[in-house]
């Protein structure tokens, strides 16, 4: 928990020596609480106070970053149980698993590494690869590195892992896993190669024991694997919720680490998709998928983007007139709102159809058509105002404007607002725009 200025003041020497550059210790404490200065500016603070202040400043869930080739995949540092309370920050990394013994490993990695998909103007890729050491891990890491530079998770026992670690020195991979039987060797390996370490146990009691012992041995960056493989969804949900609560509500450091999930543990692809979705919604940090399947990956990437969107800032696009497929004065004018999902749904459809159009994006305060209409932010007056403000009349010779089908009720009022325009009612859903365009507008 962060300390207040007064709590920090009590830990300072209270001599007002001014050497920190502030007139009093209290003033310095206030600046510290606001994170505007460093504690090191105080030459006289006791070691005991230093330690207490450092602990209080640490986030309740440790930030763990896997790094390689300029890529970084971060998990942790979360501050709330529910996204509506503030927001979720670090999107769970989606990793694709490959097997060291697989002769096609480089080819499989290359295909997944090249994957790229666009959603509302954002580009998504896979985050990295997990390699199971069921064969020579050193050779497997080299093969993967011939096809991808993304961060790695290495899975196996200590003896199998070391050749893999030697093959990716200078990176920060994640090792899976330290358990009650091997934790000393695993901790030493993680320390030697500067890797992050998954800690695995069947109960939270055992898990807390292990993380403390491993920390005492010198490893700070840990990730938790808190339930036995193939546990029912209720059990993983309970464990993940308990971990998040322990960290945030009880500030319990031994369990304040991100979580890793292996949704494919039972080998059933349906279960894999359901568990992966649960892990994204409820507190997963790294998610390892059993294979590269674009249709699942795309759905999970979109879910992740949705859940991790800041609820206080609706994603918006700039209101204005957008030219799609080089419109001419003969091309129709379509109207929509500035909610980003709405805009991209409409713009992508028109673009995909190859038909030219002027797309007027009205300022509806970032809401979708129906929501904005219900809230009074997308009415005839506002639409007319946008069309006038953006001087759409000067761009077209034929004044016709298409309303979204969901607000067909506005067509009468809009005719009054824009008497020299022809008002048409389009389809309710963006996906039906191309057919409507071909039938009605050409």
């Amino acid at each position: 928990m962060a300390l207040s200025g007064i709590q920090i003041y009590k830990l300072l020497p209270q001599t007002n020596c001014k050497e920190c550059g502030f007139p009093t210790c209290l003033a310095f404490a206030m600046k510290l609480a606001a994170k505007q200065v460093e504690l090191s500016s105080c030459p006289y603070v006791s070691e005991d106070s230093q330690q207490q202040l450092a602990e209080s400043a640490a986030p309740p869930i440790r930030l763990v970053a896997l790094k390689a080739g300029g890529y970084e995949v971060k998990a942790g540092n979360e501050t709330v149980l529910f996204r509506h309370d503030k927001t979720f920050y670090n999107k769970p990394g989606l990793f694709i698993q490959v097997n060291a013994a697989d002769g096609d490993i480089a080819k499989k990695v290359a295909a997944a590494d090249a994957y790229s998909v666009t959603y509302v103007g954002l580009e998504f890729t896979v985050d990295g690869f997990a390699i199971l050491a069921d064969g020579d891990l050193g050779a497997a890491v080299k093969a993967v590195r011939s096809a991808s530079k993304r961060p790695l998770i290495l899975i196996g026992d200590p003896a199998a892992l070391e050749p893999g670690l030697q093959a990716c020195q200078g990176e920060t991979p994640l090792l899976h896993a330290a358990d009650p039987s091997n934790w000393e060797t695993m901790a030493d390996l993680a320390k030697k190669y500067q890797a992050a370490l998954v800690v695995k146990a069947d109960t939270l009691d055992e898990l807390a024991d292990l993380t403390q012992k491993i920390q005492a041995r010198g490893v700070e960056d840990m990730v938790l694997d808190p339930v036995p493989a193939a546990s029912p969804l209720s059990q993983s949900l309970a464990a993940y919720v308990q971990l998040r609560r322990m960290a945030l509500k009880a500030n319990f450091r031994p369990l304040g680490y991100p979580i890793i999930s292996f949704p494919a543990a039972t080998g059933d692809p349906v279960r894999e998709s359901l568990f992966a979705a649960q892990a994204i919604a409820k507190y997963g940090g790294f998610v390892v998928l059993s294979e590269f399947k674009p249709e699942l990956l795309y759905a999970l990437l979109v879910l992740r983007e949705n859940i991790y969107t800041d609820p206080q800032k609706p994603i918006q696009v700039q209101p204005g007139v957008y030219e799609i497929n080089n419109p001419t004065p003969e091309s129709p004018v379509l109207v929509t709102t500035n909610f980003s999902i709405t805009y991209f749904a409409v713009a992508n459809e028109i673009e995909g159809s190859g038909l030219p159009a002027w797309l007027v994006v009205a300022d509806a305060e970032g809401m979708s058509v129906l929501t904005a209409w219900a809230a009074g932010k997308f009415d005839a007056e506002r639409i007319a105002k946008s069309i006038k403000e953006f001087d759409v009349a000067s761009k077209v010779s034929r004044k016709r404007v298409v309303l979204p089908g969901h607000v067909a009720v506005l067509s009468g009022e809009l005719e009054e607002e824009l008497p020299d325009w022809e008002i048409k009612v389009g389809p309710r859903e963006a996906v039906d725009i191309p057919a409507f365009y071909k039938q009605v507008l050409t």
Binding site: A208, S234, V270, S273, A277, P294, P311, D432
Partner: protein
Amino acid sequence: MPVEIPKDKWPGSIRTVTLGATAADGGTRGLTVTVGGQTALPYMHFEAQSPNPPVVAIEIKSERPEDWSSILTEAWGEALDDPARWAARAQDAGAQVLVLALSANDTPESAVKAVKAVLGASGLPLIVLGPGQPEKDNDLLVPVAEATKGERLALGLCEDKNYRTLVAAAMANGHLVIARAPMDVNLSKQLNILITDMGLPADRILMDPTTGALGYGIEYGYSVMERLRLAALQGDSMTQLPMIVTVGFETWKAKEAKVGEGVPEAWGDWRERGLHWESLTAAALLEAGADIIVLRHPESVRRIKIAIDELMVTA
């Protein structure tokens, strides 16, 4: 090291709502379905028992849908032409409740006929939805309510501008209503107050908070549901109603599910993508507290029943 798990203890609980009435209670249903009754956040079995698992409903139509994805029409085949056959197929596919959506082309007579046919073909509890135009909804649903007196159907949708007629019909004929508000905690609450003020008991209301599909605003519905459930557990009585979400309707109009041609290659296999779109939207909303999930594809039903079974394991 023994870890002490923080447990939430809530003053409030969700009301139980029962759909369908058997002969003993004045209906003809073979079984009834009860949802709600939770005293903790979804599936927190270490805090409290979860008395009633969520249920899966399948949406069928009174007339063959013209704009459905071929992924769906292939799954149902000729049953699409006959609500009674479709109802029986839906029951075989694992539906625990049926949702019959009436069409704007229906007349009061054809609507009543379709409802009766569905009731005759399946013993499952039934939800009947109007075509979504206030006047038309009332024209169709009032005679349906009268012709099925005592069946404990759920009628919908009640919205803030059109709820009185439906609520009166439900009250007079022993039915339930579905109260839909547009993704807003306060609007949901307000509508529930208006409906109960008319005299319909709160245990005859299901709340539809409105949801968006994956990629099309799911995060808004998800968070509104989490906030409604938290408010209910904190003791706000007008939010203590089970929640129904129309996942099939929302997801199968999304381009990702609906369309197989002219889409990016990175979207992968069409059929499987459509099923993911429906089942992952549903899976996420289960976590947020959905009590009745309305789906369209039989394979999504199978998948979500697996999720519910696993989520209800208390070990």
